[in-house]
Symmetry: C2
Subunit: 265 residues, 2 copies
């Protein structure tokens, strides 16, 4: 799925919800057992219960890599469960140069067919460009939602804070169709300013809910004429219940967010 | 292996050579065939031919991830081939927060038992600290060897260039035993200055040889009383020959570098 199709889905579903499949075996409902393969069963039920309300799924690669080769199998199986009508994100935060960058891009965007991947910008242009070669989307870290974002992202540079420089410069290497930016939901007050730098780009917003970000603030400051937002919720949806009704409850939480989103669109 | 044992090995072998196992199936000698499992056979021969001259092996995870689950198996098998007397690096350039960071650390430092992992600093302190929890080593990107390093790493901040700020601040989160920094060999003229910021830390130096960095310049500017350098060579060693003598030629190239290193120590 490309950005144009994503915009169509957002309009059709009146939703810009991204569900984060940060699936942790220690948090699975007891009745699913604790074998690694239960992760796929869990993800399948979550996707089925939420896909009418969500336009996007984000797979957090760390949660799968911890199981080594088996974990990669599970990640690939999970990706296959996601309907073609939803945009997929490999939340992998890769970034390396030359041949190495090309191989990460090939692994996620070609071999596994994710629609997009999150990318760390520290190494500069030749670490981002390999992810633009597949007519897919590089989602580059701009301003993150964590406490440590103040350490470097807010440092003053000759043209504003580092994160502003990063967003402005990185945006010039691609276009709003092949590039998005990660902006943490806890940074809602900065969203207006970021919108003035990248009025047309999609912003992937983690941190609503469990990390304390407000959907209302994010939407009021971040929406553009094509929506331009993907708001991620992981734990608030997938762990809404730890009982046998986990999927139903996940669906209800997704629906609540979709309903609220429809009022902002 | 920890940093103290690494220093002992450096003294014993008179070497600070790190061999980069950036093994690309398209560059394997013809007689090994082109099945993915040939990568392990190739790596085995390279390790056997070079381990008397090298103190360290660096596995570039991108080259393995491109084969999905099978690639992770091969990466784990490759790690098992490396003798305990050599320090191991997962060149994975990971970096994420909270639970996600912890899972990356667990995947590489606990489950796979790498001695260290390369880490991207953009997200700040809470993205680096999870890698310090295993009594192993986080090798944080400081100043990289690629063209794109000028895009952000050289930006002026109130306390010097961004890379100087990164190295200074990150160093304060750990110590020379659980932290190293990546500094590209093409940045030899900056090494003296970086040494003044982190006099005791090990620096991992990629870019000697194929990327144009000079071992002499790097050594003159970067060595400290415990050596303090790991100089990586990948293509110059592992692809020294594309014939049946590939391992022998790799050993010869490693030996040349070790001999030169012994004169600087």
């Amino acid at each position: 799925m490309n950005t144009t199709e994503l915009i169509q889905q957002i309009r059709a579903k009146k939703s810009y919800l991204c569900v984060g499949l940060d699936t942790d075996i220690d948090r699975l409902p007891k009745h699913l057992g604790n074998d690694v393969s239960a992760i796929v069963e869990f993800n399948k039920a979550i996707v089925e219960a939420t896909s009418q309300y969500a336009v996007c799924y984000k797979i957090n690669t760390a949660f799968y890599e911890q199981y080594g080769a088996k974990g990669w199998e599970i990640m690939e199986e999970t990706l296959q469960l996601i309907p073609n009508s939803c945009f997929t994100i490999a939340d992998a935060k890769r970034g390396d140069i030359g041949n190495t960058g090309k191989m990460y891009a090939k692994a996620f965007l070609k071999n596994m067919s994710f629609d997009s991947i999150t990318v760390s910008p520290y190494m500069g242009r030749d670490s981002v460009e390999p992810f633009l070669e597949y007519d897919k989307v590089a989602i580059v870290l701009g301003l993150t939602s964590n406490k440590g974002s103040v350490d470097f992202q807010h440092l003053t540079t000759p043209n504003g804070a580092l994160y502003e420089q990063v967003i402005e410069k990185v945006a010039s290497w691609g276009n709003p169709n092949n590039m998005m930016f990660v902006v943490g939901a806890t940074q809602a007050e900065k969203l207006k300013e970021i919108r003035s730098i990248v009025p047309e780009h999609f912003l992937l917003i983690p941190g609503v809910g469990s990390q304390g970000g407000s959907l209302k603030d994010v939407s009021e400051n971040g929406l553009n004429s094509n929506c331009g937002l993907l708001v991620n919720s992981s734990r608030g949806i997938i762990y809404a219940s730890s009982g046998e009704d986990f999927a139903q409850r996940a669906g209800e939480e997704a629906r609540k967010l979709q309903m609220e989103m429809s009022t902002y669109l």
